[in-house]
Amino acid sequence: MTIRPRAADTLVIGGGLVGAAVGWGLASRGETVTVLDEGDQALRASCGNFGLVWVQSKGDGMHDYARWTRSSADIWPEFSERLKEDTGISTGYHKPGGMHLCLSEQDLEKTRALCNRMHNVNGAQGYGSEILDRKQVADMLPGIGPDVVGGSFGRHDGHASPLKLLMGLHAGIKARGSHYVSGAAVDKIERDGGGYSVTTAKGVYRAGKLVLAAGHGNSAFGPLVGLDIPLRPEKGQILVTERVAPFLSMPTHVVRQTEEGSILIGDSHEDTGFSTLSTTPIMSQIASRAARFFPLLKNLRVVRSWGAVRVLSPDGYPIYQQSETHPGVFSVNCHSGVTLAGAHAMLLAPMISAGQLAPEFEAFSARRFHGQTH
């Protein structure tokens, strides 16, 4: 390839779910976008995403996040439809509602308390989940095991294929005449006239605006553009079974069936740095817990495992921030790349395109961590 799309309206650093959603969102508003990505071995959280579009438990403790998540879930159907119009690729989005399953009375009480708090967060708009007893859960999910005491059902929850979503976004970027460049690990970010130039392994790219969507890379790139983005890695592992006939009518928080028929079983929260290795003690724990939720899973063969590193801020909520010192530079971080894809493409991208985040986004700024010890 000798032609490099060096000049663009906006450069997006990072081609995972976050960068690609923002990139497609900008491109579909008529911007020329270049998405700069690493290579095939990139530490890509998107490829470890479980695929939930999940509302019921999000934002306890940060109401802005709850609202943002709801907006994204609300706009997902339109987002998915538009992406399909652009590319012919279906994200496999379904909204049958979602279930959080509880294995003890104590867990059920905690879930009930969360549910009540979320009702306060969400007000009377009907976004909250409802607590179900064992029988009610069993009516909706006949395969549950004897240890399941109840659960919470959120009718605004759903799921999609993170992998098809990512492919669709990349295809959408291309369909809109914008560019995705792999193997373009970033070396340098510099001011260039009124815009920025970014030096990568694939050459130098220039644009008026710059979006950092590089996951953990944002911590390193931030200081180059006047941003301090504190992040920590958290490993998650997932087991994937062979394809089976339809078994689950809706996703649960740790077990879901994909459109293809595989059962995905999550997950773990491990403080093991940037390692993405699959480890058998954790795989065993994940398997035994899944068998308590759905005993029939015991008879399925596990075909694959995943390990990926979540991108977490100190409080676990997203970071959206524009640089004060570097106009037109935005930083985007979250660990819910699927749930928030709709909002990123349809709501955040227009703000970035206009060069200004809405005032209420101050709540998502990393300034909330400054002055704290983290």
Binding site: Q41, H170, K174, T279, S288, L297, N299, V303, S305
Partner: protein, 463 residues
Amino acid sequence: MTRQFDVAVIGAGPAGLAAATEAAQSGLSVALLDEQQAPGGQIYRGIETASAARLKLLGADYAEGRPLVEKFRASGAEYMPGSLVWNVTIDKVVEFSRDGASSRIRADAIIVATGALERPCPLPGWTLPGVTTAGALQILLKASGIVQEDAVLTGSGPLLWLLASQMVDAGVPPRAIVETVPNGRLLQALPHLPKALWQRSYLFKGLSMVRKVRRAGVLIYRNATGVAVEGATFATALNFTAGGKPHRIETRTIALHQGVVPNQQVTRLLRCDHVWDSSQHCFRPVIDAYGATSADGVYVAGDGAGIGGAKAAAIQGQIVAIGLALRAGRGNGERLAHLHSALAKEASVRPFLETLYAPAPQILSPADDTLVCRCEEITAGSIREAVRLGAPGPNQVKSFLRAGMGPCQGRVCGLAVSAIIGEERGETPDDVGYYRIRPPLKPLLLSEIANFATSDAQEHATE
């Protein structure tokens, strides 16, 4: 408690058997794990149970497996047959399934002797029942004494001729050999001939196999292109072009072969460095003269380190084991010089064979509508489309398309997928890379993984 060994050997083919025997004889404690129920690997499959008649039919090269197995049986190495190794960790814990339950052992050194796989042969109709690898027909013959009539063997490589001559000896010659070796390959290979003469016995053996197959009346087609299998619920015919004319041979048994390639699953799982071998058209792990990989304490012997054949594999197994013994202060290296020169002699015929029998262009660059990933039914065209979206390598392609996500975990399609990506991007296979491999190495019941949460596992988790 997790049992501890000096050496864990994975695979009971010639490399694994020789390595385990040598290591045990030098006083090291050795465990040899193998998925099969009997030793020999694929090359010496059924070697302990083969009748005199079958031994005679399969030839002297096959019979060489007998003493190898006998020495191993007497060596004192612990043999764990029927053990499916499904995970190996960088701290040298080997986790395996036997009789439906999993256990683990630890070792100071691991010798990966998992041998070779058939190179993927994506061509139209290659998933139809009745189409197998040439290796599959040979396994049927070795392990069960079964030969199919009217078989058509197609592709490239010495194994096609060996199999055909064994079938002739069994009284059931194949109907035809459809060779995909392009004209001019012999000319390209000629510069390697002088070196190959160091191993002229291989060349003579080859020529006599070809003569035997011809005399048996087997139809032989050279320089075939456009090879395609016809059929609906099973193969009914093989179509191809040869000598400027289209041909159609009716048959229900078609065997494909384009040479064999290292089985990379364990070395990829351990994230060892690999390199593209442009002569063998495959990846192989990077090793030193003693078989050491880039992963500490992990060694490879045999075809898994690069294709060299059964005799070379056994020599490599010995070399690796002697190296380990020396490091443990046992034995001496007296035989090393001899073994290294024997290995070099074995290798002398390879460049000639590799050039002559390099995979067919049709196979390396399948047509857009040809299935490449058999499990998930992904075509070459869709892989090229994913590359045009910017996918830099096989892991992104896997995410986009599910290629390599099925039960074979990419064993069959991996090399073909990397090659297609490389061609489409104009990059070398080294740049493109390979699938990331994770446990379980083969599908495993969830209950077995769940039951594996032993106290030892907890101890391991907190390390």
